[in-house]
């Protein structure tokens, strides 16, 4: 087991398990925010696993998740608009989840970009990172805006 796999395991235990717990309890707004956080963290774990197993092709999984994850969260945002509007006001915990969804991306992606040989793989990695960042930021904003409506 190398450092990348250890990092993936740590992210799984410290990030994904709490996010799962948050997705299973509480008001709908918190659950959807947690679902968004889960997609981002899963994509990062997949990137770390690809590096850990030394199989660059596994990065495609993270790329697909980076494009489909926000679509999934926007599905909830669109079809649960009523429930989201009725959810109680934002708590600091929810703000933290929204922040974690975007803040966790750059360190992982940049660390991986440093060790990847420059080339197409780096471009794909950075593209995945940008898609994750943009998707997560847009979803978090849309969800918190839905609450006010």
């Amino acid at each position: 087991m190398n450092g990348w796999l250890a990092a993936a395991c740590a992210l799984l235990v410290l990030g994904l398990l709490p996010a799962l717990a948050a997705a299973c309890t509480g008001p709908v707004l918190r659950r959807v925010l947690a679902q968004n956080l889960t997609t981002v963290l899963t994509a990062l774990v997949l990137l770390l696993l690809a590096q850990g197993y030394a199989r660059p092709a596994y990065g495609d999984l993270a790329l697909v998740l980076a494009v489909l994850g926000p679509a999934g969260t926007l599905v909830f945002e669109r079809l649960l608009a009523e429930e989201l509007a009725a959810s109680p006001a934002r708590t600091p915990f929810q703000r933290l989840m929204g922040l974690a969804g975007t803040a966790a991306v750059p360190p992982v992606v940049l660390a991986l970009a440093v060790v990847t040989d420059p080339g197409r793989a780096t471009v794909k990695l950075l593209l995945t990172g940008c898609l994750l960042l943009a998707g997560s930021a847009v979803c978090t904003r849309a969800l918190t805006a839905a609450w006010g409506r």
Binding site: A57, Y58, D60, L61, L63, V64, V67, L68, P70, A71, L74, V75, E77, R78, L131, A134, G135, V138, R141, A142, A145
Partner: protein, 285 residues
């Protein structure tokens, strides 16, 4: 059969399966071991036909006939859904209200849409090289198209999505797979045999028929998902049963007894005499 007997029959079945499972698990090779007799042979055959992704070789070369059956299942189930969710005589369509979507979300969706479609094509085209293939890529592309509904507006999706064309594409993909298989027959070997030039290992054009079969599946799956979701969206947004209130207040109803307005569009057809008719509820209130 009395409930008691039925329970005994179930118990016999469960006990039998449990016994067989226990015996099988007992004789299984240990988890994650180094010896994979089937895997070694499959990889050997994949390398011989110059397919870098052994799974794609198994799916579209060594076991291509199984995949034909699997995609026939998808084709058939979508066909069944289209029939079940069609517009019946006592249902009519209402025009949905435009949705208010925040500006950033709309902009994100319009930028992300081509990226998602491109990712879908990428996954289909690289099926023989890296994880992925026709099914995965087709679903990704079809999902991407529905960003238009989720983040822009239902009418924007309707404008670019001709269900008729996608139905044709669904059938064309299915037929393409069948016809590609006959290439083997024409060359004098078995159905679905890889008879095309194999190309260079590790390039997009390697693997003979594998990328072509992947493309056929990609077209079929993408079109099938679009048609499937079109029926779901129809039912959830546009079609209302008489007496049921749509997203917008219904207009003038038809005469009582005829069950509201006639079905609009070509999908509605009068169903047979059987089935629960709930006609007349529109004017019964």
């Amino acid at each position: 059969m009395s409930p008691r007997t039925r329970l005994w029959v179930l118990a016999c079945g469960v006990a039998g399966v449990a016994a067989l499972l226990a015996v099988t698990v007992w004789r299984l090779p240990p988890f994650g071991g180094a010896r994979h007799p089937y895997g070694e042979r499959a990889v050997e055959a994949a390398l011989a036909s110059r397919v870098a992704n052994a799974v794609a070789s198994v799916n579209f070369d060594q076991r291509a006939f199984d995949t034909l059956g699997e995609q026939a299942i998808l084709f058939g189930s979508v066909l069944g859904t289209v029939v079940v969710l069609r517009q019946t005589r006592d249902e009519r369509r209402v025009e949905p209200e435009p949705a208010g979507v925040a500006g950033p979300v709309r902009r994100y969706a319009l930028i992300a849409l081509p990226v998602v479609l491109l990712t879908g094509v990428y996954v289909v085209a690289h099926g023989q090289l890296s994880p992925g293939g026709g099914f995965q890529g087709g679903v990704v592309a079809a999902t991407g198209l529905h960003l238009l509904y989720v983040a822009v507006d239902y009418r924007a999706l309707k404008r670019v999505r001709s269900v008729h064309l996608f139905t044709l594409a669904d059938a064309a993909g299915e037929a393409g797979y069948l016809l590609l298989g006959t290439g083997g027959l024409l060359a004098g070997t078995a159905y679905l045999t890889d008879v095309l030039p194999l190309g260079t290992f590790g390039t997009l054009a390697s693997g003979g028929t594998v990328p072509l079969l992947n493309a056929a599946i990609g077209v079929e799956v993408a079109a099938a998902v679009v048609v499937l979701l079109a029926r779901f969206l129809d039912q959830a947004i546009e079609i209302v049963t008489s007496g049921e209130e749509g997203d917008r207040a219904p207009g003038t109803d038809g005469a009582p007894g005829t069950g509201g307005a006639r079905p609009a569009g070509g999908t509605g057809r009068a169903d047979g005499a059987d089935g629960p008719h709930r006609t007349g509820r529109g004017g019964a209130g």
